[in-house]
């Protein structure tokens, strides 16, 4: 479904891997090994070489705005630029909000009122509102307690099942890696990928 062939950023090693429909692949590795850099290159945020295709369509064949709606990146820190929460959403889904343990009516809240954990969960919902086919999640549960971490994991799993999309999930949590993913990859300090 999602094929990456010889992708390299600056002087980093070229990477080749694929994600299949419905698959959730976890990516771990030491800090500074280039995991975030890889995710940024996949959404074409930094200049890079190599080929990336989604269901046979290369990213160059699509406008960058469309590519990033279909291949969506959730960064480790979320950023907000409007005044209220709902102003950041294409479509604000109250049901999904409740599924993530957030209060009904959070859409009307001022962004400054949100905690870091609430921001992280809402940033995920904001991303899913675009209905992407590939999810690239950079430590999406880093600021969450156990209950909310489970909610996020379940939501992503259900989303993949429903849409038959795929997900590359960066995590440092060994328990999460064991329980959550269909397959694991590790990035070495030199920036190479190894199947784990």
């Amino acid at each position: 479904m999602f094929h990456v062939n010889g992708l390299s950023v600056r002087d980093r090693p070229a990477l080749t891997f694929s994600l299949q429909a419905g698959e959730l692949v976890c990516l771990s590795g030491p800090s500074g090994s280039g995991k975030t850099q890889l995710l940024r290159a996949l959404v074409d945020l930094d200049p890079n070489q190599g080929s990336v295709t989604l269901n046979g369509a290369s990213r160059e064949s699509l406008p960058p705005t469309q590519w990033r709606r279909r291949v969506a990146l959730l960064t480790a820190d979320s950023h907000w630029w409007e005044v209220t929460v709902a102003q950041h959403f294409n479509r604000f889904d109250e049901q999904q909000v409740e599924r993530l343990g957030l209060e009904r009516g959070v859409g009307d809240w001022l962004v400054e009122r949100l905690s870091s954990g609430e921001k992280q969960r809402l940033a995920l919902l904001r991303l899913l509102a675009n209905r992407p086919e590939v999810l690239l999640l950079d430590e999406p549960t880093a600021n969450l307690d156990d209950a909310n971490r489970r909610r996020v994991e379940t939501l992503v799993r259900d989303y993949l099942e429903e849409t038959r999309g795929c997900c590359l999930w960066v995590s440092h949590d060994p328990q999460q890696l064991d329980k959550l993913c269909d397959r694991r990859m590790t990035m070495t300090t030199r920036g190479e990928l190894e199947a784990a």
């Binding site: 074409d44 945020l45 960058p64 960064t75 950023h79 907000w80 675009n130």
Partner: protein, 262 residues
């Protein structure tokens, strides 16, 4: 018109000297800068006076055009020098020059041909001061706007990229910054127009009145100049911001801060 002697100018210069002497202990750097700037004013204006005297004596389109190009080149350099994080390579210089050329030159030409209507239209007595005032004010607007644009893009990189990854276009991702940037470029002329005649008497009008022109005629010229400056600064800033934003992103809608000097 009462002419000024060298003695008159020296007496005025004593004021600057007195200020520098007073400030030299507490603000030594500023006192030095003040004296250098005052010396530059005297030398540069004397030189330009001599150039204008020659130009006025030999009315020629070629000489006026040459003077205009030199003024544009120097204004372009000034715009570049005033930016903390300017664009690298020739872009750092050319964005300012192209924007000033588009706005100041076309508006000066329009004013000389349509509004002033003197024969010949390139009469240096009108063309050079008009272009000078337009370029000076447009330069300020463009320099302020470009400095704010590049600095804001640098500081708000995370927010811009957060919008890009959600599938926003570069124009959408930078829209908030763009509004502030245009505002900062236009504020000086908007303030000047709002305060004209109430808080301050504009320099050109005061100069004409001191030189013996009837106040009503001086006022008419001043109004025309302010409208031209507003147009020049506005269109120049619009062009510079447009070119700057285009340069900040590449063809794959990536924010390219590597195109700015660190």
């Amino acid at each position: 018109m009462t002419t000024l002697s060298m003695l008159d100018l020296s007496i005025a210069a004593l004021l600057v000297l007195a200020l520098a002497l007073t400030a030299r202990r507490t603000y030594p750097d500023l006192a030095r800068q003040l004296l250098i700037a005052a010396a530059r004013t005297a030398i540069q204006l004397t030189l330009v006076g001599l150039v204008l005297k020659t130009l006025f004596a030999n009315v020629s389109l070629l000489w006026v055009a040459l003077m205009a190009v030199v003024m544009l080149a120097l204004a372009g350099r000034e715009v570049m020098a005033r930016q903390h994080r300017r664009f690298t390579g020739t872009w750092g210089y050319s964005i300012g020059v192209v924007s000033m050329f588009i706005s100041s030159f076309s508006i000066a030409l329009f004013a000389l041909v349509v509004v002033v209507g003197h024969e010949p239209w390139y009469q240096p007595q009108y063309a050079i001061p008009l272009l000078g005032m337009l370029l000076g004010n447009t330069m300020n607007g463009i320099a302020l706007a470009l400095d704010r644009l590049t600095q804001s893009a640098w500081e708000q990189r995370a927010v811009i990229e957060a919008r890009l990854v959600l599938g926003h276009t570069p124009a959408e991702a930078i829209s908030g910054i763009r509004q502030q940037v245009f505002r900062s470029g236009m504020i000086p002329i908007i303030n000047a127009m709002a305060a004209a005649g109430v808080v301050s008497l504009p320099g050109m009008m005061t100069g004409q009145i001191l030189a013996g022109a009837p106040p009503v005629e001086a006022v008419k010229y001043q109004i025309m100049i302010m409208f031209l400056i507003a147009g020049g600064a506005g269109f120049g800033t619009l062009a510079a911001v447009r070119l700057g934003v285009r340069r900040l992103f590449d063809e794959r809608a990536r924010l390219r801060l590597d195109r700015l000097r660190r």
